[in-house]
């Protein structure tokens, strides 16, 4: 039986490197291998079959000759560049009343884990943390040192400010547009259309963009009672409502917003994966990777 790492456990461990490695080499081991394989690769060598390798990759002829299982190792023609974009605006500081991780904390663990997976696959991986302060960019590179750089950057940033307008990061955006794959970890909360513009402008024919939309349990369930004063993390605006009367309206509003943003981004070929930050991180990452598999026509 698979044991997931709960958000509470993540909060108690607080070792991002250890946790990302554990998640990546544990639950994701059987999933992540197929993400970047299949197209544009050349044979490199055989290696012994390991649990988790798909049976279809076993070279049966070699098995007939040697009576041992071997799988074909491939070497890519060119490495994939993965940009991990993390929304660090103040709205990402939201968390559930019973939760232990904010959206930003959860996003950092997701980014760290995906970066680890990428570097394990020898992919170029870069990091872009966006808020209205000075941009934090780790240019794409490979190797464990790059992962450590990413970890260092993630640990040094806190959610603050608002999401800037796309004009402020046009230079960085042009670099992202040339990457092969971009994962944007965000809550998709925006004041105008700054996040959707970022996603739309990042999505080019050279770059597949996926949005990981983070939400906490309170946002999904609206479990409040009595009079509640909601206050915006970024603007400070307050709204005093009766939770009983506001619940249905909120859920309807939220559903409409979800459908609207999903529809708009899908029209630009940008899938949106919704992640509940109060669920185990492996489930979130697995849904991300499976979503990627579907989008590239994998199994």
């Amino acid at each position: 039986m698979v044991q997931f790492v709960s958000p509470r456990a993540i909060a108690s461990v607080s070792d991002m490197a250890l946790l990302a490695r554990s998640v990546a080499t544990g639950y994701l081991q059987g999933i992540q291998h197929s993400v970047h394989r299949g197209v544009g690769i050349e044979f490199s060598q055989y290696r012994s079959y390991e649990p988790g390798d798909p049976v279809g990759r076993i070279d049966w002829r070699l098995y007939a000759r040697s009576d041992r299982y071997f799988v074909r190792e491939a070497e890519r023609d060119s490495q994939t560049t993965l940009w991990l974009v993390l929304d660090a605006s103040q709205s990402m500081a939201m968390r559930s009343s019973q939760g232990t991780l904010t959206k930003f904390d959860f996003g950092r663990y997701v980014v760290a884990t995906l970066a680890y997976v990428a570097q394990m696959q020898d992919d170029n991986v870069g990091l872009w943390i966006i808020n209205d302060s000075a941009p934090c960019v780790i240019p794409p590179a490979t190797g464990i040192k790059q992962w450590h750089r990413i970890l260092h950057a993630l640990e040094g940033v806190a959610a603050s400010g608002v999401f800037p307008s796309p004009e402020r990061f046009s230079t960085q955006l042009s670099r992202v547009q040339r990457a092969g794959l971009t994962l944007v970890v965000t809550d998709l909360y925006e004041h105008a259309e700054e996040q959707r513009q970022l996603l739309r402008r990042s999505a080019t024919r050279h770059n597949d963009v996926t949005a990981l939309r983070l939400a906490c349990a309170d946002e999904l369930q609206f479990p409040y009672k009595g009079a509640v004063r909601f206050q915006d993390l970024e603007t400070g605006e307050q709204v005093l409502v009766s939770s009983r009367a506001a619940r249905a309206h909120y859920l309807a509003q939220r559903e409409a917003w979800l459908q609207s943003t999903r529809q708009q981004l899908r029209q630009r070929g940008i899938p949106v994966t919704d992640i509940n930050i109060d669920e185990p991180i492996e489930l979130a990452l697995a849904s991300v990777l499976r979503s990627r598999q579907r989008s590239i026509g994998g199994p």
Binding site: S91, P223, D232, S242, R244, Q253
Partner: protein
């Protein structure tokens, strides 16, 4: 219908109302604060939001204040008194007035008053001048107290009785000045010294006239009662068996019951009380000036007894227990004892009768209030749960 409180001081507990009110006012602009990423999703139409906050929260507050108020009333012992209402000009006439008044006077009364009732138990309404006189009843004030306890008279209440009493009856009756008194003198209006006929006596009299109770029982008309019921009891003077007992008054052997049966006591009017109004320090004089129509027909031909004179000062007349003491004075302690010897009601019980209460009988509302409070508390809980979203975090 009127309300009363057993423990009015307990209303001080209503000061507790300030507590939820203060909490409400302090928290009116607070509410549980929740930080969110996108406030736009939480905005409601203004009208809907205001309705929810203004209707439900003040509603809950009002309900809680109501519960606390009812608890205060519960502690204060709220009582309810049910009374009917007789509006307009209402008059009560005593049977003696009805008997003595001429037809013109009666017609005038019926024309002047909206409703007229006999001042007798049951209070039958009088609509015609030729209505028959009901059975006389003795105690005007007790009847008035009973009537005013059952029926409220918001406009005017007038009592028509016999014996012009000056200030005497209002002073003796607890209802006092609340009632307009109209007294018809049993004697001529030109009498210089108005007479108050207050006493009619049963007079057990021995055949040989060896001794005579000048009073055995007292029927007091137009005065607060020495208990009319008691005076209506049959009276016999004597003992159950022949004994050596000696009548202390006459120093003669006491009569047995059998002897009394052979010589039953008979009713005889012997005295009245005359009060010279003009004299502020007048004495009460027992007279024989009662109308002959009140005499027992059996003794109608008998000669009046020699009047017995008892001196009372005016202060005694104003005393609320004057009739009781009058009875003692008239009878004397030993006569009193003998007069009631075989009566169903013991004199001690008669004396123990408390004067009629001015207030109508009050119904305690405590059980109903407790039930209402429990019901409101249940509603408050359900409402609160509903308002809170149906479940707690």
């Amino acid at each position: 219908m009127s309300w009363g409180l057993v423990n009015p001081w307990a209303l001080l507990a209503l000061g507790a109302l300030a507590l939820p009110l203060a909490i409400h006012l302090l928290n009116r602009h607070r509410g549980q604060r929740v930080w969110v990423g996108n406030i736009a999703l939480y905005r409601q139409p203004r009208r809907q939001r205001l309705l929810a906050l203004r209707l439900y929260q003040p509603g809950l507050l009002a309900l809680r204040l109501l519960v606390l108020s009812l608890l205060g009333l519960l502690l204060a012992g709220l009582t309810l008194t049910y009374t009917g209402v007789l509006s307009g000009a209402v008059a009560y006439v005593t049977p003696s007035w009805w008997q003595l008044a001429d037809e013109d006077t009666k017609n005038d009364l019926l024309a002047a008053q909206d409703r007229v009732f006999f001042l007798v138990p049951g209070f039958p309404e009088v609509t015609r001048a030729d209505a028959p006189m009901p059975e006389p009843s003795s105690d005007v004030c007790s009847l008035l107290l009973e009537r005013t306890a059952e029926q409220r008279h918001p406009d005017t209440l007038t009592v028509y009785g016999v014996n012009r009493a000056g200030q005497l009856p209002p002073k003796l009756c607890p209802l006092g000045e609340a009632i307009s008194w109209h007294w018809l003198s049993a004697t001529t209006e030109s009498t210089a010294q108005p007479v108050i006929d207050v006493a009619v006596f049963y007079h057990p009299q021995r055949a040989n006239d060896a001794y005579a109770f000048e009073a055995a029982l007292l029927l007091i008309d137009e005065l607060r009662g020495v208990s009319i019921r008691t005076t209506l009891q049959p009276v016999a003077v004597g003992t159950d068996a022949a004994t050596d007992a000696v009548d202390p008054v006459t120093d003669t052997p006491a009569l047995t019951t059998a002897q009394m049966a052979e010589q039953p006591p008979h009713r005889r009017v012997v005295v009245g009380i005359g009060v010279p109004i003009a004299d502020s320090n007048a004495d009460v004089v027992i007279t024989d000036r009662l109308p002959s129509t009140l005499l027992n027909p059996a003794d109608a031909t008998a000669a009046p007894e020699r009047p017995r004179i008892i001196a009372l000062d005016r202060q005694s007349l104003a005393d609320s227990d004057f009739p009781d003491r009058l009875l003692f004075w008239l009878l004397g302690a030993q006569e009193w004892q003998r007069g009631f010897m075989q009566a169903p009601v013991a004199p001690e019980r008669v004396l123990a009768l408390s004067p009629p209460a001015l207030s109508p009988p009050a119904q305690p509302m405590t059980p109903w209030l407790a039930l209402l409070v429990a019901l409101l508390l249940l509603i408050e809980r359900l409402w609160s749960e509903w308002y809170s979203g149906g479940k707690r975090q």
